[in-house]
């Protein structure tokens, strides 16, 4: 489940507030992969992301009874995950250069692509991952929330604790920074499929 419709979401929240473990399973299935993907790319480390993910779910369990009946689960969960990451960063400074080398953690699913397309797409993904990882954390998180996790601008603004207008501005700057990083990367390496700019989709 990539998106939970509002009525089903309200029912899930009501069941969580009553301590229904099956409701937890439903929320877990709906959000676990999205949250983990967000945390891996935000922290740039699988081991850190795994710990933060577990802590996010424990926070949900701990606060389940006190959830407001109208709680929106996606912003709630991503806000907790983001706060945990911010707290982690405060307690421990990450080495950017070391983190970039830890990015090859996603299995590529290109069953229908030709061998050439598979290699090209893998190369494209590798470039995007590297460019994304090299961005400042504030730029990376808005791109991950809106571009990868699929949150609305309003939800992403809630998660980051900023106004929707500030989110739009931050997203605009982050897109530009990512595009520039990709162009710089394309200029230094031989292009595959004609480079990033000429390869809008697969």
């Amino acid at each position: 489940m990539t998106a939970v419709d509002r009525e089903a979401e309200l029912a899930l929240v009501a069941r969580l507030r009553q301590g229904d473990a099956d409701a937890f399973d439903d929320v877990y299935s709906a959000f676990n992969t999205r949250l983990f993907t967000f945390l891996v790319r935000l922290s740039r480390r699988r081991d850190v992301a795994e710990d933060l993910l577990e802590e996010t779910w424990l926070r949900l369990v701990k606060h389940a009874r006190r959830l407001r009946p109208d709680t929106r689960l996606a912003p709630w969960l991503f806000t907790v995950a983001r706060h945990l990451h911010v707290s982690f960063n405060r307690s421990r400074v990450l080495e950017d250069s070391a983190a970039v080398s830890l990015l090859a953690v996603w299995p590529f699913s290109l069953e229908q692509a030709s061998p050439f397309e598979a290699v090209a797409a893998g190369e494209l993904e590798r470039r995007i991952e590297h460019a994304l990882a090299a961005l400042p954390s504030t730029s990376r998180e808005v791109l991950l929330l809106v571009g990868v996790a699929g949150l609305s601008h309003s939800d992403a603004a809630d998660v980051c604790g900023i106004t929707p207008e500030a989110l739009r501005q931050r997203l605009h700057r982050a897109r530009e920074a990512l595009a520039n990083a990709l162009e710089r990367d394309a200029a230094t390496e031989p292009p595959v499929l004609g480079g990033i700019a000429s390869c809008p989709s697969r």
Partner: protein, 77 residues
Amino acid sequence: MSEPLMRLLAELPAAELEPERAERIRRSCRARLTRQAPRAWNSGITFAPLWRPLVALLGVAYLIGAIIEAVRVYRFS
């Protein structure tokens, strides 16, 4: 270039948690939620219906007592 860029981001592969770890987290959270439930929810169910009528009863008794006392004082003054 922004829109193709966002499309590329949306198409990035998801990160998969090891199934064993995912299952361990799920089970641990379920267990915690189930353990929390009886304490928290029973206390709500057991005491909420008891203390509210009790407070109301005491309030009514106090009010009746005050009225009786007022009438008694008024009658003998």
